[in-house]
Amino acid sequence: MIRFLFKGIFRDRQRSLLPVIVATIGVMLTVTLFCWLNGFLNDSIELNARFSTGHVKIMTAPYAKHIDQVPNDLALTGVDTLMKKLKSDFPDITWEERIHFGGLIDAPDKNGETREQGPAIGFGIDMLSGDKSEIGRFNLVKSLRRGRLPEKPGEILISELFSQKLKVNPGDTVTFIGSTMNGAMAMANFKIAGTISFGTIGMDRGSVIIDLKDIRSVLDMDNAAGEIVGYLPGNYYDEAAASKVVRRFHMLFPPSNDEYAPTIVTLSEQNNLGQMMGQIKQVGGFVVFVFVLSMSLVFWNAGLLGGLRRYIEFGTRLAIGEDYSHIYKTMIYESILIGIVGSITGTIVGLTISLYLQNHGLDIGSMMKNASIMMPAVFHARITPLAFFIGFIPGLLSTVAGTALSGIGIYKRKTAQLFKELEA
């Protein structure tokens, strides 16, 4: 019986092709949007993790509290022993010391007088120890615009935009002016090795990248670091794994009275990322809901029109001895079939588009020139296992709901009335 009905529905293009196309389009849009949201979330998380938050981050409590002001006077001290302990207690986590700092970059003229000056956002990261992992994490090789990477102490990178603003070039010397860990004035000359551009809004304006050892000596931060960031194995943020690290850390470093004792936070507890993840999940849910609703309306109407076309068929089937509920049930079966077929094709098309967006991305940098938040300039889609199934929710729910609603309209008619319409 089911086979018989399915044969009919596939032979009747108006009943199969059109609804399948509608379902396909809706499912495709759902899947693509879902992957895109995922990609955006993933890119943002990854970007923040690499440049700023790590997957977990260790700081002193007061530093964490005033992190916006990069208060290096509140930095972690005795970092050597801390790092040794972390490396032996968490062998699968990669730990990196970092110093964030603010200050001014001064570009002098021939006489040593200030020619141009600008505020700098500084990153002190390990570039010269021989371990290239931070260079990789900041993607410095690919981000290099002019010049080269620092090769010896006293060399720095500055962002391409910043170099244009200061009218300086690789090979020029600039002066950094800031304050030491103890609050004294710090001043040092650096040679610009190269310029970089990350393609990341917020990172490309006033960034200065200095080797960790160099900035330690300039800021008087020997054996100190503002932050120690940790990366999970596989370099993919996993909330559960990060929480596990936090729990273990709390066991190994029980709360102490020392105000400057190390504390730990996960990525989601920083930069409002947890909130953003929650919001994006909500948006994802909302997208699915909107598609379910609007597609249901389409299928409801399509079902009513289709029902008009099928009065003869329904009337005849009633006369031959089907009862209403059976006809209603078969209509639902048909809609499930349409929904499944539409969901499959829509998911395939949506995943194909998403795969393209995953590999090529969509450049929104030009639209977002003035944004100051750390956000990827190129949107990538990201296909997760859920993307293979998410489209079935609007695909199936809307076809079935639409048919169920239109079916009630037909169901409510009395047998004889339907039959009379059949006679006419």
């Binding site: 019986m1 018989f4 044969k7 009919g8 032979r11 009747d12 003869i312 068929e313 009337g315 005849t316 089937r317 009633l318 006369a319 031959i320 001895g321 089907e322 009862d323 209403y324 509920s325 059976h326 047998t415 004889a416 039959f419 059949l422 006679e423």
Partner: protein
């Protein structure tokens, strides 16, 4: 009249609500129809023929009185029981054939057997047998759109006959057919009536149909005017 009674109607009234009040389509019908009859309800348009056939066919219910078909009172049947009665014991033939356009001749005739949940080999045997009665064996794979009106009505008869129903209800079966096709179909139905002892009840005002009837029930304004046995 034959010995066993299949249809028994007593003081049957059918009153339709209309915009202006009520309309009495059937006004106190009394009649019985027995096994293997070849009977026609005859009368002008609007006399209540279709309404009467629909009640006998459990597609509609009496307003007053009783209609007992194959031992079951139509008023007492719920929708499922009515559907079961139609599915297992009744066959319908319509003026406009009402074949399902997306299905082949074979599939159209097979449909009632699917509802009876017969297995495939049994269905195939019965469909082929029925198509053979109607001389349609060479049209098995055709779609209704590829058939003439006469052929369509033959398929509809094959569909009504395939499950060997007790009663076939035929409402103006020749209205859309030319004379040659009408006679052809009527002869086939007479033959089926003779061979399978199926009871046929027609609703018609077509003289060609009337000329084949063995009993003629004349209806006017919802009342039986005459009920006569015709001897050819």
């Amino acid at each position: 009249m034959e010995n066993s009674t299949l249809i028994s109607i007593e003081a049957l009234k059918k009153i339709f609500p209309t915009s202006g009040g009520k309309f009495t389509a059937l006004n106190g019908i009394n009649l019985t129809i027995g096994k293997a009859e070849f009977t026609g309800v005859v009368g002008p348009s609007g006399s209540g023929k279709t309404t009467l056939l629909n009640i006998i066919g459990s597609l509609d219910t009496p307003s007053e009185g009783r209609a007992v078909v194959l031992g079951q009172s139509i008023s007492d049947l719920n929708v499922k029981q009515a559907a079961l009665l139609r599915r297992s014991k009744l066959g319908f033939i319509f003026q406009s054939y009402n074949l399902l356009p997306v299905y082949t001749v074979f599939e159209n005739v097979e449909f009632p057997l699917l509802l009876l949940k017969l297995d495939e080999s049994q269905r195939k045997k019965m469909v082929l047998e029925s198509l053979e009665w109607l001389g349609l064996t060479d049209k098995i794979k055709s779609k209704p759109a590829q058939l003439s009106g006469g052929e369509c009505q033959r398929v509809a008869i094959a569909r009504a006959m395939v499950k060997k129903p007790e009663i076939v209800l035929a409402d103006e079966p020749t209205a859309n057919l030319d004379a040659a096709n009408s006679h052809n179909i009527l002869k086939t139905m007479v033959q089926l009536n003779n061979e399978l002892k199926t009871t046929f009840v027609f609703a018609t005002h077509d003289d060609k149909v009337i000329s084949y009837l063995k009993r003629k029930i004349s209806l006017i304004d919802g009342k039986v005017l005459k009920d006569e046995i015709i001897k050819n």
